[in-house]
Amino acid sequence: MVTDTANRLRSQAEDSVNLRRKLNRSLRMQKVRALLLIAPLLIFILISFLFPIADMLFRSVENKIVSQVLPRTVASLQSWDPANSDLPNEATFRSIYADLAIAVEQRRNTRVGTRLNYESPGIASLFRKVKRGMTKIDVSSFINFFNDLDSNFRDSEWLAREFSEPELAKLLPFSASALEYWRVENPEGGQPDSYLYVSLAVELISASKAELGELERPIADFLVKAQEQLPRLDHVNLRDAFLEIDRKWGEPTVWRTIKMYSSTLTTGYLLNSIDMKKGLDGPEFRDDSERLYIKIFIRTLVMSLTITLCSLLLGYPVAYFLAHQPLRRANLYLILVLLPFWTSLLVRTSAWKVLLQQEGVINDFMVVLRIIDDSGRLIMINNQFGTIVAMTHILLPFMILPLFSVMKTIPESYVRAAKSLGASSWTAFRRIYFPQTMAGIGAGSVLVFILAIGYYITPELVGGTKGTFISNRIAYHISSSLNWGLAAALASLLFGAVLVLYWVYDRIVGIDNVKLG
């Protein structure tokens, strides 16, 4: 009897374990199936949406170009104190000579110039000019110095054999990379270009003599000897040569900019997009005359909120009207609401131009009706007013649709109940109907606001200078100034701002209360 019960209990326990396993398996199958169903979309979004966004976000802090193009200069500037008003030493000028000689061949001198120009206007021309200027700099002393040491230094093949020793490449990395670059460009061999010798001369200054001596290669002795005889090159003055190309090379700001923006990741773009810049003691605000973006950000925000509010005020009654029509008629009216989508956005925006401009329909009409004087025609376009009017019109359907779909689901019996309980029409609306449309108001507002804050075409066409949005600046930096880093930084900030607003909204209204359909 007792064992019977025990057996039964045990088999029950086993059953329940089995059952759970079966359940898990069937749930897993369901999950896999669900995943397979959404896989195509997921992959599409991943490739066409998430990766580009991630890339864009990364671009706002990415800054490889300086350290890639000017590696020797960057290394050499490490010992230079930017707070000092002295110029960097001769070694730095020799480094930048080697860097720029390679950069000119690679046609990268202007790119690094452009990058640095974002931070300190005027640098771009400096880097453009070196292409011609460098040919005038006499560096034959460096070539002769090494050739006099040993004729093998003329032979790139021999040098390559020597540098294939990993210890040497580690000791003189910049020279190794210069040689390697030259050999790739000149596969037929021969005597390397001057930048290799300048690079060697710079690197030998700081190389450890002991380690050089330990190398078990023929070149070791020559390098030790070269290091001892380096003072023979002291008479060469590349600094003056650079100053002769452009006096600006003698300004510490140039060198400060190079040093400050030499790391591979930078906050420069992001600082720039909130009107700040890197100073000697951390970030600082730009001069008033250079400030721009905070103002535009605030303008974008305020105008988007205004547009959202306007579409709510205009859309709510329309949605209410639609929701209280018989279904057939409501569908017809809904098509009318959606009708604007059938014409191009450009056409709609241009139509507003025709209506609102000073010689436009509305002004003409008011002049005819003598509401305004012919000389006092109103300026309603190419300013904030124009942008708000046109965008409210364009985004209105996005407010009406969610409102309508929420209102449609509210049975009439609620308002009737409220009235039968003694509430006047207004009280019934305010206390019973309106709270139940909050979900629609939330959805419509989020939709319109998020669309508005990133809007581009309409403000571009009717915004003039005072009514443009941050996205217009982003577009400008992407297509005109080609400062993609700054564009990315501005976009990231916009993205961040929207996320913050979304979070605030969630805290106040609750995102579960948002109903789109």
């Binding site: 049975p411 019996s413 609620y414 009737r416 109940a417 409220a418 009235k419 039968s420 309980l421 003694g422 509430a423 006047s424 029409s425 009280t427 019934a428 206390r431 019973i432 709270p435 139940q436």
Partner: protein, 365 residues
């Protein structure tokens, strides 16, 4: 309860209603409801019951005629000033408010003071045995609980008149029966006038003082439940209320209180003439299934007998249900109590059944 048409608390006088200008949904409604009465509007779907209720509550206007409450015409009074409590079919509890807020709503809009309001809300909740649910939301309540709250909300501001539109329609059978009694008891206790709409005849019969049977926009009969069941005035009411056997025939002879009808099968039966024309016209003779006796020997004297053939015998526990073929009608039902001496018939048996002439009514064809 005799109601004088001139002193009725609620009066419909010649009310008509059309929604589309073509079809009259309510045709010439005349109805007087006494103070404290429980009146039910019963009728098939689409017969205009809700429309009548909405007109009374003020959500629809009568196309013609007048509605008076307490002697005053209310056609031009907006709904919120009528002071009529209403329970909706889907309860219409405000989903964004708690139970207590729902109940407080009618008091708030009447600017009732806080303490009085809270006391009334509590009393109303206790009345429907829902104390302790104050802070729940309507969606967190079961159907029956929501129903009670809706009831409490319609009563909390102490209206003289409460309208209920199929308030129990969404509940299961057991709960519905339970709630029927609760509503009935509340009505007796509070003495309010109730106009109740349903299409469930059992509900109408068990709860009401009087029942108005609607069909096709007209009141077909207005009477107390027992009267309605036992003395239907036309064949629609006879068939709509309870089960009924009908046999078609032609009036042979007609006097004050008896009509001889020749059935289509040839037999002649006597019936109480209720709604018949002249001699020679067609009529519908109706007999309730439980008033028919299957055993000829148990019939009292003066009863009719008629030949019948058993079609089907159904055992239903407390009763037996026998389907017979009588005078050409194959759906003649007889209900008999499950008693120890009750005959159990089998299909194909040929028997004689009978009923008393006063249980048999001659109605319109």
């Amino acid at each position: 309860m005799p109601i004088d048409a001139n002193t009725g608390f609620v009066r419909f006088e010649g009310v008509q209603k059309t929604y589309d200008g073509k079809v009259l949904v309510v045709k010439d409604l005349n109805l007087s409801i006494g103070k404290g009465e429980f009146l039910t509007m019963l009728g098939p779907s689409g017969s205009g019951k809700t429309t009548c209720l909405l007109m009374l509550a003020g959500f629809e206007t009568a196309t013609h005629g007048e509605i008076l409450v307490d002697g005053k015409p209310i056609n031009n009074i907006p709904p919120h000033k009528r002071g009529i409590g209403m329970v909706f079919q889907n309860y219409a509890l405000f989903p964004h408010m708690t139970v207590a807020e729902n109940l407080a709503f009618p008091l708030d809009v009447r600017s009732v003071g806080r303490d009085e309001r809270d006391a009334k809300v509590k009393r109303a909740l206790d009345m429907v045995q829902m104390g302790g649910f104050e802070s729940r939301r309507p969606l967190q309540l079961s159907g029956g609980q929501q129903q009670r709250i809706a009831l409490a909300r319609a009563l909390v501001f102490e209206p003289d008149l409460v309208l209920m539109d199929e308030p129990l329609g969404a509940l299961d059978k057991q709960l519905r029966e339970h709630m029927q009694f609760e509503i009935k008891h509340l009505h007796e206790r509070l003495g309010v006038t109730v106009v109740y709409v349903t299409h469930d005849q059992t509900e109408a019969l068990t709860m009401s003082d009087r029942v108005a049977v609607f069909d096709d926009g007209r009141i077909q009969q207005l009477a107390a439940p027992d009267h309605l069941y036992e003395m239907p005035e036309n064949s629609f009411v006879a068939q709509f209320i309870g089960e009924n056997n009908t046999l078609m025939g032609i009036v042979e002879e007609l006097s004050e209180d008896v009509a001889s009808v020749r059935l289509d099968g040839g037999e002649i039966v006597s019936a109480v003439p209720v709604n018949v024309g002249a001699v020679g016209e067609r009529t519908r003779v109706s007999v309730r299934p439980e008033r028919v006796e299957l055993d000829e020997r148990k019939l009292p004297s003066g009863a009719h007998t008629i030949a019948a053939e058993v079609q089907e015998f159904i055992y239903m526990g407390d009763i037996f249900r026998t389907r017979l073929k009588v005078a050409g009608n194959e759906d003649f039902i007889v209900k008999s109590r499950n008693a120890s001496n009750q005959t159990r018939l089998s299909p194909g048996e040929k028997i004689k059944i009978g009923w008393l002439p006063e249980d048999c009514r001659a109605l319109d064809a």
